[in-house]
Amino acid sequence: MVDQASLLTERVWQRYDRKQQLIRYAVLLVTAMVVYWAVRDIDIFWPWVWDAPNQISSLGARMWPPDPSRLAVITSALLETVHIATLATALTIFIALPVSYIAAQNTTPNRACLWLGRFILVASRSVNTIIWALLFVAVFGPGVLAGILAIVCRSVGFIGKLMGEAIEEIDRRPVEAMEATGASKAKVILYAIVPQVMPAFFAIVILRWDINIRESTVLGLVGAGGIGVILQGSIDTFAWPTVATILIAIILLVLIGEAITGLLRRKVL
């Protein structure tokens, strides 16, 4: 006779089986250990941590109300920031396109070029814009040239990588057809590859311009031109209400930039 009652009591439901539970515990444990180590070892003066909300709100109070007196200087600096971002993005296109061509597996002339292209793109992407800016300020001195070059160096990696991927994803059949007509490499690219990657190209450039506007705002902090210079100056002189005005201006700039890129995307794509 089957004992129904004891059969029922045997059934248990667990959300995770044994192996999954072990893995979850292990991961949790490792994470906890790492966090514990980080908290203990970090060079923080803990009383300051508890005081932090206080400090932050007092800073906020010092920034209020925002001071509009230097609006003219701020506006021209903001314009300079936009110029840096725009000119740099435009310049980047000329460099990024050939690099993306050789970094794409289906269009690269040989292996050496492929690795060269990939190396350039990786190096460009791994070094942050500000670090590039530091480098160029050291070489060319403070000013917008350093800023433009820094943005270019960082953007080449971004645009180059995404364009390279776009090139690798094209339909090969038009390429075959163009080769069959006896067209030279350049004409094959012009007719078979360029039309296929155009939509991606516009989307990528518009996106990068948007990001570059944001990046350009901080270049001045290391001396590479733009609104960052005024910002750094105001912070150094503890002119907090002016700082507040600058921050508001930056938000406005970013919002306008988003509006423009939204518009461009709708119109062009």
């Binding site: 790492v34 966090v35 980080a38 908290v39 070892d41 970090i42 060079d43 923080i44 003066f45 300051w48 941590v49 005081d51 932090a52 400090q55 932050i56 007092s58 800073l59 021209s76 314009l79 300079e80 110029h83 840096i84 725009t86 000119l87 990786v122 190096a123 791994s126 070094v127 942050n128 500000i130 670090i131 530091l134 050291a138 070489v139 060319f140 001195g141 000013g143 917008v144 040239l145 944001r214 990046e215 705002t217 901080v218 902090l221 290391v222 031109g225 910002l231 750094q232 912070i235 700082v243 921050l247 930056i250 938000i251 970013v254 919002l255």
Partner: protein, 268 residues
Amino acid sequence: MRPDAGTTPRTWRKPPFIANPLLRYGLWLAVIVYLVWAFGSLSFNWERIAEGLPRAARIFGGGFPPSFERWGLLATGFKESFQIAILATLLGVALSIPFAVMAAKNVAPKPVYLLGRAVIIVSRSFHPVIVAILFVAAVGFGPLAGILTLTLYSIGFVGKLLAEEIEEIDWGQVEAMRAAGAGYFATLLYAVFPQILPRQVGLSMYQLDSNLRASAVVGIVGAGGIGGTLMNAFGRYDYDFAFAILLMIIVVILISEGISGWVRKKIW
């Protein structure tokens, strides 16, 4: 082939991208005007720039070969950057969940939604470096400012993506929970979170990688980590050490990118 009827030759031009000629030429004109204006209004110190190439030679000459002599400093700097990244990611990801819930149109009441959206937008408008400077001014130099900065950065980034995810969930599951009589938070737990949490892990890994890169940079303005070490080296014209630091930053970023990519593939 039908014989040529001897009519006037037919021409063909490629239909232009922008049909309206006024708009098309207007755009070209605008571009040229802009370029002239932009270049005109920017000021270049040509003498200083001309000094650039010999300077570059000196810097790269001085920077090469990179010197790992002070590797102790290097190690401390990186250690601090890791710590900042880990704690900021943890805090940021944890906090991003409530903010994401607040910023999702379909689960938050209107005023809460507006507040949540505002917080996320503000977190994203400012470059982390600017935020870092402000926190440094508020709480002083050191990793605390870095952690606060990157936490805000993470909330902005992860919070936005999470909010968008929440707005796209399958509403049927929420309805089912409501129909069963579950309260607001229970519904969140059973109907919303299971749909967004799998992505959350991938996002967290991505954010950890992102924060690691960013921590190298916020250090430049005094918020701790390897960035500070780099600034010091530059300031002292220790270009060979600076170069070494740069190389290590690139290597660490590449490794971290590789690891986070591998982990994300495993759990996808």
